[in-house]
Amino acid sequence: MLSTLIWFPVLGAIAIAALPLRQSKLVALTMSGFVLLWTLWIAHQFDFTNPLLQRQEYLPWLEPLGLNYQLGIDGLSLPLLMLNSLLTWIAIYSSQEETERPRLFYSLILLVSGAVAGAFLAQNLLLFFLFYEVELVPFYLLISIWGGEKRNYAAMKFLLYTALSGALILVAFLGLVWLRGADSFAYEALMGQSLPLWIQIVLLSLVLVGFGIKIPLVPLHTWLPDTYVAASTPVAILLGGVLAKLGAYGIFRFGLGLFPDAWATLAPGLATWATVSVLYGATVAIAQKDIKRMVAYSSIGHMGYILLGGAALTALSLVGAITQMVAHGLILAILFHLVGVVEAKVGTRELDVLNGLMNPIRGLPMVSALLVLGGMASAGIPGLVGFVSEFLVFQGSYSVFPVQTLLCVVGTGLTAVYFVILLNRTCFGKLDNAIAYFPQVEWRERVPALILALTIFFLGIQPTWLVRWSESTAIEMVAATPTVTHSPIAQVSD
């Protein structure tokens, strides 16, 4: 059942790579479309009230090593699986028809999809690590072969950073198992045991830095702007929309889940770290002249909200953090897609050159309108999904970390500042005669953005459809971490 989400894309990747198929994009779309439908069906069957793992699958594999094929879903992983399936389909759909070496390209994307799904589903630390590492190579190739300017530099930087990330995580996992004297890497088996607090803090620190690189958090972020900017649009969608969420997922699943005492001890520091990320990302985004780089830095800021929600560790803030993962994935995907369309049509991403794209006849009016919507969603305007997640995080975190929360609210204001700058310079004003001969945006290019926009809008006005998946799991995770002070106002059950 769950294995389908991993192996169907992998089989698709193998089929596309090995068989002389001409319509590789169509095959990839069909495969990813099936996976998306399958994920939705699993979601339909999901029991919201059950906080524990559901639909578990187990196959003994290398038992002497403690490595078994062990899968399951809960309220933390299911929303991210849905996000992964949706964005994979969107990424494939939004890729150019004339992509070079299409068989390799679509194979790698499907491989990434399968590996990420595996990481979200894995209930064995070593199995998670394998999936976590497997997606590294396809991403490296996707950036270095189909990337833009400085792609080799960006791909190498990405590889080095994420390899370091993997190494730190592996050390933490091995340390946990060895120090506990456990004979298995099974997640559930490791949850219940305790270690001295200082050891927990050391191991948690490794996990935080390891996954913090992936998210990324300041100052571990320096690979991100180069990589996001160099990556082609579909790859940037997957990097920002899915891969970064894998980092956040890892922090919650393994940091919070395996080291609850240490988490509670470090929580104030984490909240401050989150605040620094939010403010740094927002202020640096304001200074950018390249709209893709601006969106990339905005991502750093927005991922900070997730850490804040996790650090506060109220049920409400944790639901907000999980919701923010999905919301941010959707918003980042639409922004990257639209920036890609703008670049493809206008030939530049420079704020100083772009102007007047809202012009109804010679501009890119629908793209501009959707860009406005994406910017509004990112800035947390009510009625859109960004508001739901940010409000939940702030509402849930304020009672625990009021100063950090208020500073993050300032960060939201700064988000509005740079998006106003972006939209004002890009969409409004006078269209420049010298460059205003842009090709028309085709419906094929509008469809991904429209799907994402509808999702962002729908979940904004009907947030229950987003938060209900993770409520029970969030309450359970908070309950398992007894040391963080909670305020009654922050109970999700209120």
Partner: protein, 431 residues
């Protein structure tokens, strides 16, 4: 017809920024390069312009002559049949001077459009009007207001509007029009200048209507000649305009008002105001060159001196217009483009479909063709002025040729400012 060598061999080459254009003008050419593509664009646009223009001049005269000072002119664009049947003085069998070989009454394509509109459905006139499925008279009124607002652009017509004679004529008409209406007569007694100013504006309605009454058949005839293969170059098209200008130059400009069947001469024909000096030249100056800042996507900051304090330095006319942002709603040239869109000849439709975004941005493409065509009309005016005021192009006297050169260069100086589109229309890929 002269050749380039007359001026070029007898006087030193021009060092003007637009030396190549000066050379072309000295050779009897147009500011617009002579290419078949340019010719096709400008002739096609002349035809598309002439059809709504046939409505504009009739409606302008109707407003000036019959609507007059109606305080609630809600139906002023509902042109009565009488004015659709009104004979153009330069077309039809009974023309004073037959410029166009077609009918003197409203153009058939215009009548068809008035009946069914863009919806291509016969609905009550009011519905077509409210749906804006009609000829946009707002453009014609914007041109009229531009002439009226700038005023003082030479000639005798405009000073006459401040004369005692004009005031007396106006007073007589106003009192006749409001006869039996004590409220309006009382208001007139209280605010006579306000009503006088209204009538001045109506005199410009008549002025522009009489100007366009000439231009519509000129453009129709050019289109027919092009279709028959008798106009084959841009200079030929310009020469047709120059010849037309001289043939019609003396046409009287007047303003008559019809009140209860009686004609009141506000500006009598007997004043001898001539079409060329009192209508054509002020029109070109006000509409082609000056107008006023667009209310479009480009905003001007008057306090930052982005708008000249001296009206004579205004440069917002079609020769300077940035046609791209004009795609927004509500700006007069946009309305004209919308009007012309309905009457494009098939060859121009095919042409636009081949470039840029085809049908989707045709409005802008035809706007730029219109800009090209107006550079050709302005060239005709410049050549006509040169003919009237200076020397032949093949004059043997170098001093005379130099005087011509200075005249051309002075005219082209107005296009050296960055907003001017003369540079752009030299390129074929400016669309």
């Amino acid at each position: 017809m002269t050749t380039a060598t007359d001026a070029q061999t007898r006087i030193p080459a021009s060092t003007h920024e637009f030396a190549d254009v000066v050379q072309r003008l000295e050779a009897g050419g147009s500011m617009l390069p002579d290419t078949p593509e340019n010719l096709m664009q400008i002739i096609g646009i002349y035809k598309a312009y002439a059809v709504p223009m046939d409505f504009y001049w009739r409606n302008l005269l109707y407003i000036a002559e019959h609507v007059f000072l109606n305080p609630l002119p809600a139906f002023k664009y509902f042109l009565p049949q009488e004015y659709l049947d009104l004979h153009n003085h330069y077309a039809g069998d009974d023309a004073d001077l037959r410029i166009w070989r077609g009918e003197a009454t409203a153009h058939p394509e215009l009548l068809e459009f008035i009946e069914k509109g863009e919806l291509n459905q016969k609905l009550p006139k009011l519905l077509h009007h409210l749906w804006h499925d009609r000829i946009n008279m707002e453009f014609a009124e914007a041109c009229m207001r531009s002439m009226f607002w700038h005023r003082g652009m030479g000639g005798q017509f405009d000073p006459y509007l401040d004369s005692d004679e004009y005031k007396a004529n106006t007073d007589r008409a106003i009192r006749a029009y409001f006869q039996g209406n004590p409220l309006m007569l009382g208001l007139y007694n209280l605010f006579p200048d306000m009503f006088l100013e209204q009538v001045r504006e109506l005199s410009y309605y008549a002025n522009l209507g009489l100007f366009w009454e000439v231009m519509a058949p000129v453009f129709f005839e050019m289109s027919d000649l092009y279709d028959e293969g008798k106009i084959t170059t841009v200079p030929e098209a310009m020469d047709f305009l120059v010849n037309g200008i001289f043939a019609i130059a003396g046409r009287p400009i007047y303003h008559h008002v019809y009140i209860r069947g009686e004609c009141y001469e506000i500006v009598p024909k007997s004043k001898g105001f001539m079409w060329l000096y009192e209508a054509a030249l002020p029109y070109v100056e006000a509409v082609f060159y000056r107008t006023s800042p667009f209310r479009g996507t480009k905003s001007y900051n008057a306090q930052a001196k982005q708008v000249p304090t001296d009206q004579t330095e205004f440069h917002y006319g079609i020769l300077y217009a940035d046609v791209f942002p004009v795609g927004s709603a509500g700006i007069p040239p946009t309305l004209l483009m919308q009007d012309m869109l309905h009457f494009l000849p098939p060859y121009l439709l095919d042409y636009y479909n081949q470039y840029c975004r085809g049908e989707d941005d045709m409005l802008i493409q035809l706007g730029i063709s219109f800009q090209r065509s107006m550079y050709n009309v302005t060239s005709a005016v410049i050549q006509a002025l040169r003919t009237a005021l200076l020397y032949p192009l093949d004059d043997p006297n170098p001093k005379h040729l130099m005087a011509n050169r200075q005249f051309f260069e002075t005219q082209l100086d107005r296009f050296t400012r960055p907003e001017a589109r003369l540079r752009d229309v030299q390129r074929q890929d400016y669309r």
